[in-house]
Symmetry: C2
Subunit: 154 residues, 2 copies
Amino acid sequence: MTQNDPFALADFMPYLLNQAAEATSLGFQKYYKANYGMLRTEWRVLFHLGRYGALTATAICTKAQIHKTKVSRAVAALEARRFLLREEMQSDRRQDLLSLTRKGQAAFNDLVAQAQRYNETLLAPFTAQDQDTLRRILLKLAQMEQGDARGIAP
Amino acid sequence: MTQNDPFALADFMPYLLNQAAEATSLGFQKYYKANYGMLRTEWRVLFHLGRYGALTATAICTKAQIHKTKVSRAVAALEARRFLLREEMQSDRRQDLLSLTRKGQAAFNDLVAQAQRYNETLLAPFTAQDQDTLRRILLKLAQMEQGDARGIAP
DNA sequence: GGATATTGGTTGCTTTTGTAACTAACAACC
DNA sequence: GGTTGTTAGTTACAAAAGCAACCAATATCC
């Protein structure tokens, strides 16, 4: 922000980041919503299972930084629609091991391919160096000390 | 993303942007929530009135890129708590001209000062050049063609 | 000037999220 | 081996967002 300009929302990072996040999320969101009836959390859970193999709900919470109630609901929804399978662990019967069904795998493959394509079009207007700068800064901002939110915000 | 790496969510801009947006929003959100009991939309509406003077609801929608139902509710909430005043326009009785009360002005002043301070601490870790790059890219991403969302998404 | 369309804004209903309390299984301690 | 504390995950309830229908004032068209 320039020194004597009045403060504009476009100078305020939380606002700018939100606007950019919303604008860029829309295109892809439409895709998984229209084609698989998924919500964002469901897509993320599916993604983690596809990318990292079978996981427990808690493992997804940690990896994906999503609160357990959101994961719980996303898992229930994905299970109901046969995208994933739940298997009680014999070592600890509180935990369920979650893994994708064939249908889930297929959805994952398609969605990841789509996500990659979409990502490329998003980044295409910028130089490789700009892209690196962007990624580096965003990662740092994302990992910021989260105030007094212990753990992950719901 | 490097050529042969499997696709990770950290490479996916919508995800990264959302994470950064959420992380950076938290700190400030706690402030206006704790001190003024405001929601994000309310803070944004207040901001626009403080920054640009009296406006109609539609003007706020346009400037702030917020859907009219959200603005309508935010205005009602801010009015109920005497942060703003509503005055029917004689030129077009459908429209109300909204302006901050003294209390609203005071809140605006405090919140803007706070926002500026907060913003500075967020950006402090990065060089001026990085900050410029970031702002430039975010603005461009935020103004992206919004798919088939005509107007502003609710 | 009366029918029709448009615009500004609100309201009702549904879906999604936030928050807290809760259950069940396991762990630790005595 | 029973009490106490944790942990995994679910559920119930409240707050908020999304969406569509709606009302009232104005503009348009004949």
